[in-house]
């Protein structure tokens, strides 16, 4: 066999190796993508659930408390049912501000958050501020703040809210 012919065959062999590798690579990439995408999605759903659970509780409680406070104002009440003097207009203002803060994470009543950096930062900021306000407002309405967190933990499990979930 002439030397020139041998060189051509060797090149073809290398090309074949590369071609087979690339074919396998693409198939592996496709298969790996499908599996990992779904696994990542499951974790994402779980994390989103856990993070917004407590804010959903805040949202509902604040809406109910605003309604109750407005009724007190409409009735001209100046004390709560235990006879303690209350400035209901001030309470209402505080609750309305809290509602507006929480609603920055919602659109048409549905949570609107993503895992991009700015949304995660916004979430952390809203949660921190809303939590502080909720702690101060809860006693007025006979609610124990720790119960709210306990419900979230029992229903959603635990999560480190300070940590960004990125790999």
């Amino acid at each position: 066999m002439p030397c020139e012919q041998k060189d051509i065959d060797f090149d073809s062999l290398l090309n074949l190796e590369n071609q087979y590798y690339q074919e396998g690579f693409l198939e592996g990439q496709l298969e790996g993508s499908k599996q990992q995408f779904l696994e990542g999605k499951q974790i994402g759903i779980q994390t989103g659930f856990q993070r917004l659970l407590v804010l959903g509780q805040y949202k509902a409680l604040v809406a109910i408390w605003i309604d109750q406070t407005q009724q007190k104002i409409d009735a001209g009440a100046t004390t709560d049912d235990k006879g303690k003097p209350r400035q209901f207009s001030k309470i209402l203002q505080s609750l309305t501000e809290l509602q507006m803060l929480i609603d920055t994470l919602f659109e048409n009543g549905r949570a609107q958050v993503t895992n991009n950096d700015s949304d995660v930062e916004k979430y952390e900021n809203v949660l921190k501020r809303a939590r502080a306000k909720m702690r101060s407002v809860c006693p007025i309405f006979g609610e124990n703040y720790n119960d709210i967190e306990e419900i979230a933990m029992k229903v959603g499990g635990t999560i480190q809210t300070e940590q960004k979930d990125e790999w």
């Binding site: 074949l16 190796e17 087979y20 590798y21 074919e23 396998g24 690579f25 693409l26 198939e27 592996g28 990439q29 496709l30 298969e31 790996g32 990992q36 995408f37 779904l38 696994e39 990542g40 999605k41 499951q42 974790i43 994402g44 759903i45 779980q46 994390t47 989103g48 659930f49 856990q50 917004l52 804010l55 959903g56 805040y58 949202k59 509902a60 409680l61 109910i64 309604d67 406070t69 007190k72 009440a77 709560d80 919602f106 549905r110 949570a111 958050v113 993503t114 895992n115 991009n116 007025i140 309405f141 709210i148 419900i151 979230a152 029992k154 229903v155 959603g156 979930d165 990125e166 790999w167």
Partner: protein, 147 residues
């Protein structure tokens, strides 16, 4: 050496396992060395492809799932808070509250049966458990309580 030593005859046609059959377009007679070469390189390519895909796909999946879970979690948080108030007002029984608490647990509501094969859920309000307890709350809508 005969032809049959080099090329597989029709009778001996090699049938690769599915996992070995990367990119094979035709099923004609193939040289055994060529098949071996293909198995070796395609397999390595396949494994490298899986590794490469893992990291970025996991993150993409997470990002797509996160808002779905967030909408569900927020909605369930609202329902639970409403039920708690209703319980405090004695407008629902402790049994009802406990049932909701149990049925709305993350382990229950995130069961794959409630999602399609791609884990999609367009509207969390269509989730059977969420719909059930939302409807229940609406039927007890009068959430007035004593301050």
């Amino acid at each position: 050496m005969t032809f049959d030593d080099i090329w597989l005859s029709d009778d001996e046609e090699y049938k690769p396992a599915i996992t070995e059959n990367y990119g094979l377009d035709d099923n004609g007679p193939v040289h055994v060395d060529l098949l071996s070469l293909k198995r070796k390189h395609a397999k390595q390519g396949y494994l490298d492809g899986i590794s490469k895909a893992k990291e970025e796909s996991l993150q993409q999946g997470f990002d797509e799932g996160y808002p779905i879970g967030a909408r569900m979690g927020a909605r369930i948080g609202e329902i639970l808070a409403q039920l708690k108030i209703l319980l405090m007002q004695s407008k629902i029984s402790a049994e009802d509250y406990d049932s909701a608490f149990h049925e709305l647990n993350i382990k229950k509501v995130l069961q794959t049966d409630f999602f399609d094969s791609k884990l999609n859920m367009l509207d969390e309000r269509e989730h059977p458990m969420i719909r059930k307890w939302m409807t229940f709350c609406e039927s007890k809508r009068d959430l007035q309580s004593q301050l």
